[in-house]
């Protein structure tokens, strides 16, 4: 299935007259040697194996090979490489652990990939002020591990947190199960040091939120590496809750579960996590791990309430129970111990992996709707899957209204692939019809560029182009991302609107 983007370029977004892929043969013949001279031999990768290893992130549908990969050790080295690329008109793209799900780290025009793999140091821990300065190549979980002894953590917890980097989290404004209560990454970034698209080292913020200036940190978070390369960040550390209560509620109808989600929020209760899994996921998890659920279960809600005060948390959990019961839940299992808690989280944490048993290919979508529309939306998802004759399972951040329908199918059958593509598009369009978003946490990258005009008007997109141009009015820093204005960039070979896990 070969086709390119179908959306016409939006006039006036960013003037980009000539967006051709970087051709190493026509470019600088001494690229690798030059980079070695700048950073040393041990910090430069080139050749076919490097090109293949870095030609995509976890969104594998589109690929583009870099001419070289560099592994700088500090901010100054990143700046040196950027200045070199600017001087010689070579595109460059930052990359963390490569776990991104929309192609944000894809070197769309080739050129140089700047990996943050070696930027893994924690530079300062300021416990009294609950903040930490770290290089951005460090894995998310290591940030929390470093301050666990002090009863603190870095709250954003994407599923990939054992490997996903702080820089990647900032670029994608990563979420996770507990962002319902604690907020996404941008709410936890106090300041950044960034190499701008011309190679200048700049800093914003650092100590507090707010200040007598525009909130540039808020803009940089979620900009997918298109405004510069963030190399260090001051992050906010959040106290670990003293009390955690975890419940797993089972329902014999999907509607019972989805009505419960909106009902809990309407009651003035915001759990720390409110996740949903349907019978497709349970079937896979039961087969893979032998876990059983009450007979007749069609949907599970994993609900976690936390806080510093037992009475408040218990009151929240009681409110949750009442809403579950009013929606005829079959059973509510409560975790008594940490081992119980881990067991209750099994379906949520291992659900997607277990789905590998169901079919050769899985595509996971990412869309958002107002959570009150969940019942209507889930009905729509099942209807679309049935019409397309493909399997679907749902495992998602229900509290945020952030859907992740997973289609399972056989990608060797072109008819099934076509049906999955169409079903995915129908779901994202429905998200927008219901007042939602084309992406809640995976980002736009190259994957969803041609969906942006469905969500934003031309005037909206022009404004976004202006925001980009504050920092990046050229074509070299992570080109071909977010804005639908660069049609020569990526010929999309096969657009599944999702990612094979």
């Amino acid at each position: 299935m070969e086709r390119s983007c179908r959306v016409a370029p939006i006039p006036g977004i960013v003037p980009e007259p000539d967006m051709k892929p970087y051709d190493p043969a026509a470019g600088i013949t001494t690229l690798s040697q030059d980079l070695i001279r700048l950073l040393g031999e041990e910090s430069v990768l080139a050749g076919q194996s490097a090109e293949r290893a870095y030609d995509c992130d976890a969104y594998t549908v589109d690929r583009s090979r870099p001419a070289a990969v560099v592994l700088p050790n500090n901010t100054e080295e990143v700046a040196k490489v950027v200045r070199y690329c600017v001087k010689h008109s070579i595109p460059f793209t930052a990359r963390g652990a490569g776990t991104g799900l929309s192609g944000g780290a894809l070197p769309a025009l080739g050129g140089v990939v700047i990996s943050t793999k070696r930027l893994t140091k924690i530079l300062e821990i300021d416990l009294p002020n609950r903040r930490m300065l770290a290089q951005t190549g460090i894995a998310n979980k290591k940030l929390s591990d470093a301050v666990k002894h002090a009863g603190l953590h870095f709250a954003p917890d994407p599923s990939s947190q054992t490997v996903a980097t702080l820089g990647g989290n900032i670029a994608e404004n990563a979420g996770g199960p507990h962002t319902l209560k604690y907020g996404v990454t941008s709410n936890h970034v106090l300041g950044v040091t960034m190499v701008d698209p011309l190679g200048e080292i700049v800093t914003f913020g650092g100590k507090h939120f707010g200040g007598p200036e525009f909130d540039f940190v808020g803009l940089i978070c979620g900009s997918e590496g298109t405004l510069g390369i963030v190399t260090e960040a001051w992050i906010k550390l959040t106290p670990l809750p003293k009390v955690v209560r975890t419940a797993l509620a089972s329902f014999d109808t999907i509607r019972g579960a989805t009505e419960t989600v909106a009902g809990i929020i309407a009651k003035g209760t915001i759990p720390a996590a409110l996740e949903m899994m349907d019978s497709g996921i349970l079937k896979a998890v039961s087969a893979a791990f032998g876990v059983t659920y009450p007979v007749g279960t069609q949907a599970l809600l994993l609900i976690e309430c936390d806080g510093d005060d037992v009475a408040t948390v218990e009151a929240e959990m009681q409110a949750v129970r009442e809403v579950c019961q009013s929606n005829n839940c079959l059973d509510i299992a409560m975790a008594e111990t940490e081992a119980d808690r881990a067991k209750l989280w099994t379906a949520r944490k291992k659900g997607v992996g277990a789905m590998g048993r169901l079919a050769p290919s899985i595509v996971t979508h990412d869309g958002v709707i107002p959570r009150s529309k969940l019942p209507e939306m889930l009905d729509f998802v099942y209807r679309v899957a049935a019409d397309a004759k493909v399997g679907v399972a749902n495992i998602f951040h229900a509290g945020d209204g952030n859907l992740h329908p997973c289609f399972y199918f056989d990608d060797r059958d072109p008819e099934q692939v076509k049906n999955v593509v169409e079903a995915g598009e129908a779901i994202i369009r429905k998200c927008l019809d219901l007042g939602g978003s084309v992406t809640g946490e995976h980002g736009v990258g190259v994957e969803k560029i041609d969906l942006m005009p469905l969500m934003f008007s031309e005037a909206d997109l022009r404004m976004q182009g202006k925001a980009k141009a504050i920092f990046n009015d050229g074509t070299l820093c992570n080109p071909c991302k977010i804005l639908p204005n660069q049609k020569s960039c990526v010929e999309h070979k096969m657009r599944w609107r999702g990612m094979a896990w």
Partner: protein, 277 residues
């Protein structure tokens, strides 16, 4: 001061035709705005547009007053998590949101509050805005859902913009359950009219909170309210200054100029409010 027309389209036409527009702070915050600009009374464009409780969001016209908003939210058990609804009479001068006349003003000045450390502030609450550009385009920034990573988060650039990047006409906020409000630790040392609000690190709090010019302090959010505003407060503090807080030569000034050039190239909105453009 003129009232705004009552539809987005007519506001947009008016903006396009008006060379300089002033949206002054009701509290006199910011540097003086050029007298050549036509003053707008944003409070004439007010009203809650949508408050779907189950979705935990509220959408309103920008001139809606914080008091009206808090009342509407409280009826459903929600609020913007400032000192409301526990505000004591003697604390009123130390609650900037209660003092500001419109929601847009509160966003445009990025007002701090006494529960900020526990419940966040505008970067977390503001999920979308509608803005009129100098050319009279109606532009939607952000979204209407609590989680969204589609495109650049320009709505966050409007926080603290002092209405100098575009005219904010609609605001969509994430709201917070009253039942989960943490306790406030605001202490009023002596009554008076605060001239400045500063954010200080916890490690500096002991020393900062006992200074003679301090009127009130809040340990949880590391905030002190001062009697008078220094024109050049410490750069790393939140200073709710009468003046600018930003000076030419400050590294961030370069980026503010760039943002201003891109969003408001004809310097139509609030000319002078920053002192630097």
């Amino acid at each position: 001061m003129v009232a705004l027309p009552n539809t987005l389209e007519s506001i947009a036409r008016w903006v396009a035709e008006t060379p300089k527009i002033a949206v002054p702070s009701s509290q006199g915050w910011g540097a003086p705005i050029s007298p050549q600009a036509v003053g707008v009374d944003l409070s004439t464009y007010s009203g809650i547009l949508d408050f779907p409780v189950k979705d935990q969001i509220v959408k309103m016209r920008a001139g809606t007053s914080p008091a009206e908003l808090q009342q509407a939210l409280a009826a459903e058990g929600y609020c913007l998590p400032t000192l409301f609804p526990d505000l004591q009479p003697n604390q009123a001068p130390f609650e900037p949101l209660a003092r500001s006349q419109t929601l847009a003003e509160a966003v445009a000045f990025g007002l701090p509050h006494a529960r900020e450390a526990q419940t966040g502030s505008w970067r977390e609450w503001l999920i979308g805005t509608t803005v009129i550009t100098g050319d009279g385009e109606i532009v939607k920034l952000g979204s209407s859902v609590v989680k969204n990573v589609a495109g650049y988060d320009i709505q966050r650039l409007m926080i603290g913009s002092r209405m100098s990047l575009g005219l904010i006409v609609e605001v969509t906020l994430r709201v917070f359950p009253i039942a989960a409000l943490p306790k406030s630790s605001l202490i009023v040392v002596r009554e008076g009219e605060p001239g400045a609000i500063r954010r200080v690190l916890d490690s500096d709090f002991e020393a900062e909170s006992v200074k003679p010019e301090v009127l009130a302090h809040d340990r949880n959010s590391g905030t002190v309210w001062l009697e008078s505003a220094a024109d050049q407060g410490p750069k790393d503090s939140w200073t709710h200054q009468k003046g600018t807080g930003i000076f030419e030569g400050d590294p961030v000034a370069k980026w503010m100029h760039r943002a201003k050039e891109k969003f408001d190239p004809h310097a139509k909105f609030n000319p002078g409010v920053w002192g630097i453009f």
